[in-house]
């Protein structure tokens, strides 16, 4: 999400939170319509706000309060997520200079890592994650191999191939590769080539 969309999301969530808190305050009698200052001088709005303070029957009041609380909690939670969560980079910058920058999507790097892993004999499933630290790449792969495969051999083969393939493609060193090989249970469905 770019900065403009994030600002829009923040404004929307703040507005939602304010509306929910206002509705809650009016419904339980903590706030009166006059608390909204000049806005409440607009007659239809003043009546609407006043009505919120005198909800009948009781079930309508309980429902309004409950909905307001749920919306407020949800808005506050999403607001906290939006403000606090660090955004994951979508692209790895391979070079940046006066001429411009060259970048490759992390999704593409992940795709390469998974294809390389699946290209090894005996591997039936692979899930990889590629990240960068300083000027090098870190790769983590969880693979599932056929039940009778040599897990150690499969892991080493994947590590070597993956390192060569990624370094050749992006021109950056791969500092750390962790391949976790899990053997499928005998009887599981096996990929045959």
């Amino acid at each position: 999400m770019n900065i403009f969309n994030r600002i829009l999301a923040l404004l929307f969530l703040l507005l939602l939170l304010a509306l929910a808190v206002g509705t809650f305050g009016l419904s339980v009698g903590l706030l009166s319509a006059n608390a909204f200052g000049r806005a409440s001088q607009y007659a239809p709005l003043h009546h609407a706000l006043g009505d919120l303070g005198h909800l009948h029957p009781q079930i309508a009041k309980i429902t309004t309060v409950a909905v307001a609380v749920v919306v407020a909690i949800l808005a506050a939670f999403l607001l906290a997520l939006e403000v606090r969560s660090p955004r994951r980079e979508k692209e790895l910058i391979l070079s940046r200079d006066r001429q411009g920058e060259v970048a490759i999507g992390y999704s593409t790097l992940r795709k390469i890592a998974e294809k390389v892993s699946l290209g090894e004999a005996d591997v039936s499933r692979a899930r990889c994650r590629v990240s960068s630290r300083k000027e090098s790449l870190w790769v983590k792969c969880d693979v599932t191999a056929n039940p009778f495969a040599d897990a150690n051999h499969v892991g080493t083969e994947i590590e070597t191939t993956l390192r060569n393939r990624l370094e050749h493609t992006v021109g950056k060193p791969v500092e750390h590769i962790r391949v976790k090989v899990e053997l499928a249970e005998p009887g599981d469905r096996v990929r045959v080539r």
Binding site: L94, G105, T108, K115, G119, G171, V192
Partner: protein, 116 residues
């Protein structure tokens, strides 16, 4: 009379053609997570964003490539774009940003799966 926006669209089309002729480039992508394009009256050049600032052309190109070393490929692409902009003559090449949005891994393709 040509307006800046017309020139941008023309240059974006030229750059797109150069990119597609560059060895290793398979297609133009419209961007990851967001769409980048050059817009003109009735025409949109997707995947190539061109902005002219003080006579310099800033270019963002989004590409799908075959498996190849990216640094060399981007160098080839940049040279091609710079060449075509110089030949055009109306502007000077500025920053050229190359974004590899996807890679076709034909050599690594996994055979069709069968289960027993």
């Amino acid at each position: 009379m040509l307006y800046a926006v017309d020139i941008e669209v023309e240059l974006a089309a030229l750059i797109r053609d150069v990119a597609l002729r560059t060895r290793g480039v398979l297609a133009i992508s419209s961007g990851i997570g967001y769409k980048e394009a050059t817009y003109g009256p009735g025409v949109t050049i997707e995947g190539v964003a061109v902005t002219i600032d003080s006579g310099h052309v800033k270019t963002n190109v989004h590409i799908v490539v075959a498996e190849a070393p990216i640094p060399e490929l981007s160098l080839r692409l940049r040279r091609g774009i710079q060449k075509v902009l110089r030949r055009d003559g109306r502007t000077r090449p500025g920053r050229i940003n190359v974004y590899v949005d996807d890679m076709e891994l034909t050599a690594l393709s996994v055979p069709a799966r069968q289960t027993v």
